[in-house]
């Protein structure tokens, strides 16, 4: 799509590739990738997008691409960039994305995977029935008032816990305690709030899912033990975000930011990078709305985790606490946050990237402060997902960030074409995976080969030192939209 000259790219070491400052770039770009990944990225718009972000005012350090990087809109997916308000830095909704606080939550258990096997089909049927999933799916009988939506936007996961959907202990295992400060429900439009009324506790479609899995490999036994991830035990991964409410917040903000970019004379290499100076009223408005949408997403995953626990209780006839279904962690993949790095307050954008703070960081939950932040990296529907920990090197080199998933390598159109005339149900069953979906059109777009092998992605971050492998999870059952 780009008709600009090819970018100069320089290899720094086995896994780091520099895009030296060129053209209108204000800082260098840096991509973490293996040689094979870089070969696949050759000529891809994602590399150009890392360079485009480097052109934005007030960017500091480097514009970063993770090994799961792929062509997004505005920012690449798998992109990290930090901005300094004192240097004219900006906030850009395109650096967060439409699905604000799309993220992942991991539950552990004491259930042996072999004991779950006989009831797994029934459990998956129950999840499909009890948790709305699919395009625009909402609840038929659970609709919030506008005042309730405003409370969710202010209180985040705590709102769900206060109404019996989980426990206070859950909140201690969520990024920021499941509630971002400075959320402003008045900055969220009526349209957005309306879209949020019946979608709290729903999966959505696309790459969102609920996955029942098990711990099938442990790389760091002591850390896995601290996280309660014993080999062979059942786990639950929940991947979703702020649903229609978040999409609308992004949509509304982009219109405001188009105007703001003109008002403040910001030259944009891509209109989707529309932004406003961090000290401007437009930025304050966006932060208020974005933090509110992020809180909605924390509450959304909290509600779904509660429904999952209830489903396990029904099928296994034991309470979820007896089953040991505690929360390991819940972390955002799409967010912009104020953080302190090298003594400076910076606005760090992570779009398809995970915060990965090292041991000792003050913002970590007390339970993990000596361990480092758990990082949850889902893979595709058939292979595996990973649990990592944040590292000091990530803090120094990537503003405390690492990858977020496998990264797409095939367009949805190609994936659908590849899935045509195949019996996907049978294929997954042959792999020992029970798949339930509101529409198999979604499953066709999400076939495993549409994604990179997440093991390759995680291998790069582990060997580059911006994440540390703890355990691998294998899927047993997947609920898709």
């Amino acid at each position: 799509m780009s008709d600009q000259p090819a970018l100069e790219l320089r290899r720094l070491d086995e896994f780091r590739w520099l895009i030296p400052r060129q053209g209108r770039m204000r800082v260098d770009g840096l991509i973490f990738a293996s040689e094979a990944m870089m070969h696949e990225l050759h000529g891809d718009e994602a590399v150009r997008q890392v360079a485009n972000v480097a052109c934005l005012p007030g960017i500091t350090g480097r514009s970063i691409g993770m090994p799961d990087i792929h062509w997004g809109y505005g920012f690449a997916i798998g992109g990290v960039a930090a901005f300094d308000a004192e240097q004219g830095g900006v906030v850009s909704p395109g650096g967060v994305g439409y699905d604000i606080n799309c993220g992942v939550r991991l539950l552990r258990s004491r259930i042996d995977a072999t004991t779950l096997e006989p009831v797994l089909p029934r459990l998956m049927d129950r999840l499909l029935r009890d948790i709305p999933a699919g395009v625009g799916a909402g609840h038929e009988h659970f609709r919030l008032s506008d005042e309730d939506v405003r409370s969710v936007l202010r209180e985040g996961a705590g709102w769900a816990v206060s109404r019996g959907f989980g426990t206070a202990a859950d909140l201690e295992h969520i990024e920021a305690g499941g509630r971002l400060p400075d959320a402003d429900p008045d900055a969220v439009s009526e349209r957005a709030r309306k879209r949020g009324r019946d979608q709290l506790g729903t999966v959505g479609s696309g790459n969102h899912f609920i996955e029942i899995g098990c711990v099938d490999q442990v790389f760091d036994a002591a850390a896995a033990d601290r996280l309660g991830l014993a080999p062979g035990t059942v786990t639950v991964l929940i991947h979703s975000g702020s649903r229609g409410l978040g999409y609308q917040v992004c949509d509304d903000s982009l219109v405001i930011m188009q105007q703001a970019a003109r008002t403040y004379g910001i030259e944009l290499p891509d209109r989707q990078l529309a932004c406003a100076p961090l000290h401007s009223p437009e930025a304050t408005h966006y932060f208020g709305a974005m933090n509110a949408a992020a809180n909605y997403a924390f509450a959304n995953r909290q509600m779904m985790a509660h429904r999952v626990r209830e489903a396990f209780e029904q099928e296994l006839r034991l309470s979820w606490s007896d089953l040991g279904m505690g929360l390991v962690y819940d972390v955002a993949h799409n967010i912009a946050k104020w953080e302190t790095h090298d003594g400076r307050r910076l606005c760090v954008h992570r779009k398809g990237a995970t915060r990965a703070f090292p041991p000792g960081h003050a913002e970590l939950a007390p339970a993990y402060r000596d361990l480092g932040q758990p990082v949850l990296i889902p893979g595709d529907m058939a292979r595996y997902s990973f649990v990592l920990l944040g590292t000091e090197r990530a803090y120094r080199e990537t503003f405390g960030s690492t990858c977020h998933g496998a990264g797409r390598r095939m367009s949805r159109t190609k994936a659908k074409r590849s899935a045509r005339d195949r019996n996907l149900h049978a294929e997954f069953r042959a792999l020992g995976i029970e798949v339930r979906a509101s529409s198999f059109a979604t499953v066709a777009e999400e076939i495993p080969e549409a994604y990179k092998d997440v093991a390759d992605v995680v291998d790069v971050v582990d060997r580059a030192g911006i994440g540390r492998k703890v355990a691998r999870l294998r899927p047993l059952g997947v609920l898709k939209g």
């Binding site: 799509m1 792929h70 439409y98 699905d99 999409y247 390598r409 190609k414 529409s439 059109a441």
Partner: protein, 157 residues
């Protein structure tokens, strides 16, 4: 009416708008050419709802709509591209809020910065297959090229 396979141009509108899907890694989008603004705008709407309803490559006749309604829409933009995005955003909102899908448009006013139209929308008998999160500005283009109009739009899905 589907929008076809990536790379191939085909008619999408009775007023001879031509559409070509883009093969984007993570998202979906298309390019359009048309002779008139009316054909460009109604063709873009048809293209977006073909993605939502999953009829890109499905040549089967679509089941009859359950009901139809007509709604007035007015939008503005600082240029043609922004107006096109504003138009599609309004239609997407009507879809998200009321589950309505686009069927036709009658433009009462349409220039490169403003439009007023009466749109015919339907309650489709078939569930949508794809969620469009937003009409993005990424790679957005809408301009006159000789006697024709050319546009490119990418959606977040």
């Amino acid at each position: 009416m589907g929008i076809g396979a990536a790379g191939a141009w085909r008619n999408v509108d009775k007023e001879a708008a031509m559409i070509r899907p883009l093969d984007h890694t993570a998202d979906v989008g298309f390019e359009l050419v048309a002779d008139t603004l009316e054909a460009l705008f109604s063709g873009a709407a048809r293209g977006m709802f073909a993605l939502i309803e999953g009829v890109e490559e499905d040549q089967e006749p679509q089941p009859a709509d359950m009901a139809r309604t007509s709604i007035g829409i007015a939008c503005t933009g600082d240029d043609l591209a922004e107006l096109l995005v504003a138009w599609l955003r309004e239609l997407l909102w009507l879809h998200d809020d009321r589950a309505l899908v686009f069927r036709d448009a009658h433009f009462q006013w349409l220039d490169e910065r403003a439009l007023r139209a009466r749109v015919e929308l339907a309650v489709a008998s078939r569930s949508p297959v794809r969620e469009i999160k937003g009409v993005t500005y990424h790679g957005l283009m809408a301009r006159r090229s000789g006697s024709r109009l050319h546009a490119r739009i990418i959606f977040d899905v």
